[in-house]
Amino acid sequence: MPGRLAAFIMLAGLCGTAQAQSSLEYTVKAAYLARFAPFINWPADAFAGPNAPLNICVLGPDPFGADLDKAVAGQKDGDHPLAVRRMETLLPETICQILFIHDAILADEALEALGSRPVMTVTDSGMRAHGIISFIVIDNHVRFDIDDDAARRVGLSISSKLLTLAHAVRHRGGR
């Protein structure tokens, strides 16, 4: 079962056009982005306070539109309410727990800039650079790879429940 993942796109059969397909892809990705949080454990100093929001930041172009806001609305991870922040550039004082990057160039820069900050980086499918989690699309199904070694380096721990659902996992120790 590990790695044998098939994110099922509910309405796939009903959607005929590539445009619709593409819009559905990001609806699923938005939902996933909102659901990663419960499976990830951040160090306490990653948050501004015990009840501070858990920020899901979207750097650069936003492919989700309202989908991400809908997926996040009313959701909480422990005591932290989920919030969406959109930004053009990554400032050092900006607090992000999850950072989604759609643009390949921005991704290279951002991953470089973040260094060892405890941020769960998520990169979109179809780019060279990889965050800790990177979406991939296989047979019209949205799936994701996880670099658990990178997570360890920035002080994040990822639930095994999530790891077992990943398409591929780069395990701790750099294997």
Binding site: P38, D77, S159
Partner: protein, 440 residues
């Protein structure tokens, strides 16, 4: 009494059996409840485990993974339905057995008869991701029946034990009852025996006293006869002129006569007096001395005679007359303020001894009774009344030989003497004389 003593243990046994049955039913209900609670807890735990393990699959709509988790639960045969639902309560995995359908939404079916439904939310770090639903069969019917049969067996055995105990208890009390009745009878018989022995001892005592005093009286009588004979010779040779000397002799003769009379009475008591028995009808005898009797009892005592006896008996007529007179005078003395003396005779066929007699031969008897309305006798006096020299009369008024002599005479004549009396109730003295053939 016996009925109650018998039914008490039965009642107790019934109550105990009822109690046992009630306890059994309560225990069965309690076990049912306990089992159901345990089952709910059990299913709840499994639901929580499923919810925790299926969280990732639910979060990322991984149907295959979810189904694999759910399939793992099939090893529990009691689980009939399992369902996994995503955040929008849509079913993404599940299975069902035994003709049950997987509900479209979690927890919609109410827990009904025969199954236990549990719905648990799937959460990860406080975020609700979906839900799982499990439904398990309630306790299988045959297991329940087996438990009830076991219980029924236990209750039956208990009731049986109680019944046996109650039965043996009642049998025991019945046995104790019989035993106490037998014991009472034994005590009564022992008392009767003691009284008989006492009467026999009294009879033997009288016999011994009679023999002793009779022997003395006999020798004494001979001495008196010698003295009297010599006195008679002396009188012949006395000078007729010496009147003073005659007087001395006369006084001595008189004293000797009285002494002879006394020895006669002692001999009568000891049954050694010479008797001349002849056939007689006691009714006639009493009639013959009627005038004498009336004279003896005096004017203050009313004399009544009921002479119903027709049979003949044999006795010394003179002695019998003496006895009747003696008894009549005793009765008079018992009624200083007057009263009634009833002399009665009647014919009796006796199979059993009259009260107060230890030795008795069944047969036909002529009974002669003298009943007075006098002061009566205490039991102590009555029991000693025939003892020689026992008297209640003032010193010098009686010799204490009247009843002793009567007793001796009656026994010597083959009859019996019975004294019945109580203080203030008067006395009745009855003489039973054996019947004889009417003389030709």
């Amino acid at each position: 009494m016996n009925e109650r003593r018998f039914s008490l243990p039965i009642l107790a046994a019934l109550a105990a059996a009822c109690l046992l049955l009630a306890t059994g039913i309560l225990m069965a209900r309690y076990e049912d409840r306990l089992y159901a609670d345990q089952q709910v807890k059990n299913i709840n735990e499994q639901a929580h485990i499923l919810a925790a393990s299926v969280a990732g699959a639910v979060a990322f709509d991984d149907l295959r993974a979810a189904q694999e988790y759910v399939n793992a639960l099939k090893v529990n045969p009691e689980l009939l339905v399992a369902g996994v639902y995503n955040g929008r309560d849509r079913r993404i995995a599940g299975f069902s057995r035994g003709g049950r359908a997987i509900p479209a939404r979690p927890g919609i079916t109410a827990s009904g008869h025969g199954h236990i439904d549990v719905a648990v939310p799937v959460t990860q770090n406080g975020a609700r991701l979906g839900a799982v639903f499990l439904s398990a069969a309630a306790e299988p019917a045959q297991r329940r029946i087996a438990r009830y049969i076991g219980l029924v067996l236990l209750v039956t055995m208990g009731a049986l034990v109680i019944a046996v105990l109650a039965f043996s208890q009642s049998a025991l009390s019945r046995r104790a009852d019989q035993l106490s009745r037998v014991n009472l009878r034994l005590q009564a018989e022992m008392g009767e025996r003691a009284r008989t022995e006492e009467a026999l001892r009294q009879a033997h005592k009288m016999e011994a006293v009679g023999q002793l005093s009779g022997g003395i009286a006999h020798d004494f009588n001979n001495l008196i006869m010698i003295a009297k004979g010599n006195l008679r010779l002396l009188r012949k040779r006395l000078d007729p002129a010496a009147g003073q000397q005659f007087q001395y002799v006369a006084a001595t003769e008189e004293a000797l006569d009285r002494a002879a009379h006394l020895t006669q009475r002692i001999l009568a008591f000891s049954r050694r007096q010479p008797l001349m028995p002849e056939p007689v009808r006691l009714s006639g005898l009493v009639s013959d001395i009627g005038a004498l009797l009336r004279h003896s009892v005096g004017e203050t005592v009313e004399l009544e005679t009921r002479l119903d006896a027709q049979w003949w008996t044999r006795c010394d007529i003179n002695q019998m007359e003496n006895v009747i007179l003696n008894l009549a005078i005793n009765a008079r003395d018992a009624m200083p303020d007057g009263g009634r003396l009833t002399i009665a005779t009647r014919d009796l066929r006796l199979n059993d001894a009259p009260a107060g007699l230890a030795e008795f031969s069944p047969g036909d008897y002529v009974a002669l009774s003298l009943r007075d309305t006098g002061v009566g006798m205490s039991e102590e006096v009555r029991s000693r009344a025939v003892d020689p020299f026992f008297t209640t009369k003032p010193l010098g008024k009686g010799t204490g030989l009247g009843l002793s002599m009567t007793f001796g005479f009656v026994r010597q004549s083959g009859g019996y003497l019975v004294i019945e009396s109580a203080p203030g109730k008067g006395s009745e003295i009855t003489i039973y004389m054996p019947r004889t053939e009417e003389p030709a």
